[in-house]
Symmetry: C2
Subunit: 173 residues, 2 copies
Amino acid sequence: MLVLGIDPGTALTGYGVVRGARGSILTPVCHGCIRTESDWPLARKLQAVYQEVSRIITESRPDAVAVEELFFNQNARTAIAVAQGRGVTLLAAAEAGCPVFEYPPLAVKRAVTGNGRATKEQVRYMVQHLLRLQTLPSPDDAADALACAICHLNTSLTITAYNAAPLDRGLGR
Amino acid sequence: MLVLGIDPGTALTGYGVVRGARGSILTPVCHGCIRTESDWPLARKLQAVYQEVSRIITESRPDAVAVEELFFNQNARTAIAVAQGRGVTLLAAAEAGCPVFEYPPLAVKRAVTGNGRATKEQVRYMVQHLLRLQTLPSPDDAADALACAICHLNTSLTITAYNAAPLDRGLGR
């Protein structure tokens, strides 16, 4: 099962594709970030996000797209931008006939760290560990997208031992 | 000059097409509302909005699309829904190669009523009057979309006398 996780936005959109199967380890396929220029008109930014997400779906052919639910504890201007970017991201999935799953931020953090209140650093560290990446996933948006994909795999496959490597280092808790 | 005004949303998206030329009266071309079912998944709702807005642009071939800017004085859940719908609306315009213009709600209200704090009823009444519609435009979302199109025509053509009919009835102010 192949899952595309997305951390939506208009300036930065994180994405990460992860492969998983019941009882097997998780395999990272690709991850990165779609960037738009700050001086572009909004419609052009949204078009760039839509076209790039569509391209990633066409190339990676995921079985599902996983996206975080939105909560408005943040700055209103940021919230509007994220929601508009999220709209075209969900549209790209729908136009490609790809089912969309939405998870609350708490569930995504808990899925990778065991703690719904984990910091961004803890999420990045655990994503690197679970996917056996050589380096910390960068930027944060890509790490969050990979975490979202892992959350969906975790939920839908009920993976109990998705990584054979012992968790020998803690999260500093 | 043909302008498509949009009042974005995910449950209800108002639209209205208005034709105008420097010094001439405004002509309504069409207006209405795109409705989605409350039990549809969000991605399907956004897809329906995108496809309908794209269809309206293809059929009416506007020179510009005018949309209200978003302000977050409202309920957060509503704000998220509107912003997501707004994202796919702007995308539809960009994909059709149609320039997008954004106006603050105050500017739209002032353009049709002369008062940036006008009520919804005053906006509907003035839209009916300016476009010489037989009945009040319905629903509110369609009236707001027509007001947005009029605002853009007003701004870009600097129409000074867009309706020859005397304003014999006031707005109850």
